[in-house]
């Protein structure tokens, strides 16, 4: 038979497990903060966070293609950008891009999950 005591124990065990999981996953959730120079083929598939200035941007209906410059340049693409992200990724603006490194037509680029204000 189950009472409130069992409920409290189950809930606390649940919370403890969840919090432990979050701490263990911390490295996987947190993108690696890198400069453009540090991004190379060995990082393909990894989530990274890169800050820089938008040197050039091409905006279409379902994506924004832009170049990020922090002393070195890298291409980035954001599919289905929000209105806020469209506003942020204009030429000359400073942004932080979080996304996955991929190899496209032999060129390293970032497929952005998120474009934030720097």
């Amino acid at each position: 038979m189950l009472g409130e005591k069992h409920l409290a124990i189950s809930s606390l065990a649940c919370a403890a497990f969840g919090i432990t999981m979050l701490f263990l996953l911390n490295e996987a959730i947190e993108p690696r903060e890198l400069s453009v120079r540090e991004i190379n083929e060995s990082l393909v598939g990894e989530r990274v966070s890169v800050a820089g200035r938008v040197d050039w941007a091409l905006e279409k209906d379902n994506f924004i293609l832009f170049t990020l410059n922090d002393g070195a340049k890298i291409k980035a693409i954001k599919f289905s950008p929000s209105w806020e992200e469209r506003g942020l990724a204009g030429k000359g603006s400073y942004v932080t891009v979080v996304g996955k490194v991929q190899l496209y037509k032999n060129e390293i680029e970032i497929v952005a999950e998120e474009i934030r204000q720097w």
């Binding site: 038979m1 409920l7 409290a8 809930s11 649940c14 919370a15 497990f17 979050l22 996953l25 996987a28």
Partner: protein, 402 residues
């Protein structure tokens, strides 16, 4: 980063308490407000929305049990839940839904890899079977009425509810927020009106020390995961229809089991809707819609959301039990008839604020149909036809009114 995420989990859980306790305020509304309020990373907002949604699935049984006021996702809990309340077992009813939420939620998380595989392979076949299942459920509901007169009345109630649902929920309808308007009319205002007329008296509330059979909890909660998997896969099927279908197929089910079932479906469905969003990009809940606008879910996000869901389940369970106990003491001090009158006025105010003049007419119509069902001694669950028939039309004939 973990500390930031835990902070947003906490904010989400607190918001979930607010949305759950307040009839008419849904997680969708708060998700949209949160998007505008918090200038932060998108994944942190996703964490806030998920934890709020999960806590909401626990908390929103409190108004339905104590005040007879349903939410969109738990409207069929009002009947058995409120009956427990009138017998002085309101807290016991809430505990049953909490156990359903804990076991159902954890089971959904544990079974999600299987659900993911099944989802990708079988969704088309399941969609084809839905109109037949729902039509069969409606037919069974009528046939289960004992007297011929009641069978005829239930057909009438089903016909009227269906018509109202088809008109109000169609794409061409000018009614603002039609779903909550109809839910509050059929399952909120109608029983309250009946209570005001008949003046039931709620017995003194016990403290819920009555133990719960573990078999009841685990059987019903596992059944709820199965039902929730259908709810999360198919648009137009809500937790209420899933619970009704299970109840009709399984046969006689104790009210206590039914409350555990509903608690489990609500929480499990919330988690499964994240899996559906991740796997096939479809949204089945307002929560999923909000998340889709924020971020494209990656595997590492999903693992983190499992952790967040576990924390939110724990918070939802403990907060619901504590608040339920406290609220019962408060509610017990007031005249029950005056509480009913007050809640009725609040419902009218909610519909007035959320909807428009056509919505008020739909609300009044739904209230009258629901009241008629109660007055004729027909099961109020027949009014579910307002959702079921449009769903049958959608799946069976690809019909939505223009």
């Amino acid at each position: 980063m973990v500390e930031t995420l835990l902070f947003f989990v906490l904010i989400g859980c607190l918001l979930g308490i607010m949305t759950g306790l307040t009839p008419g305020i849904h997680v969708n509304t708060i998700a949209v407000i949160a998007l505008g309020l918090f200038q932060t990373g998108r994944f942190e907002l996703v964490v806030l929305i998920v934890s709020m949604s999960i806590v909401h699935t626990f908390m929103d049984f409190i108004p339905s049990v104590m005040l007879g006021v349903p939410g969109e996702d738990n409207l069929l809990s009002v009947l058995p839940g409120h009956r427990f309340f009138l017998k002085g077992k309101g807290h016991h009813a809430v505990l049953l839904t909490v156990w359903g939420g804990i076991v159902g939620g954890i089971a959904a998380i544990a079974l999600s890899p299987i659900f993911l595989k099944f989802l990708q392979k079988s969704i088309a076949e399941i969609a084809k079977a839905i109109p037949f299942i729902l039509a069969a459920v409606l037919a069974l509901m009528v046939l289960k009425e004992r007297e011929t007169g009641k069978k005829i009345f239930s057909l009438a109630i089903i016909a009227l509810s269906s018509l109202l649902g088809i008109i109000a929920l169609s794409a061409a309808s000018s009614i603002k927020n039609p779903l909550i308007v109809l839910v509050l009319g059929f399952f909120g205002a109608a029983p309250l009106l009946h209570s005001l007329k008949n003046k039931p008296v709620a017995k003194k509330q016990g403290s819920g020390e009555e133990k719960i059979e573990s078999g009841v909890v685990f059987e019903s909660a596992l059944l709820s995961v199965l039902a929730a998997s259908f709810v999360s896969m198919l648009p137009g099927i809500g937790p209420n229809q899933a619970a009704l279908t299970v109840r009709t197929i399984v046969g006689k089910i104790r009210e206590s089991s039914y409350l555990v079932l509903l608690g489990g479906i609500n929480t499990a469905n919330m988690f499964f809707s994240l899996i559906v969003l991740y796997a096939i990009g479809k949204t089945r809940t307002g929560t999923a819609v909000a998340i889709k606008q924020l971020i494209e879910l990656q595997p590492e996000h999903m693992f983190a959301l499992v952790a967040v869901s576990l924390i939110a389940i724990a918070w939802g369970a403990i907060a619901t039990v504590a608040i339920s106990k406290w609220l019962l003491k408060v509610v017990g001090k007031f005249d029950y008839g005056k509480i009913n009158l007050f809640v009725f006025a609040v419902l009218v105010a909610i519909v007035f604020s959320l909807s428009n003049s056509l919505g008020m007419i739909a609300f009044a119509t739904a209230t009258m149909i629901g009241f008629a069902a109660i007055a004729f001694g027909i099961k109020r669950s027949h009014c579910m036809a307002f959702l079921m028939v449009p769903t049958i039309l959608y799946y069976g004939f690809s019909l939505t009114l223009p």
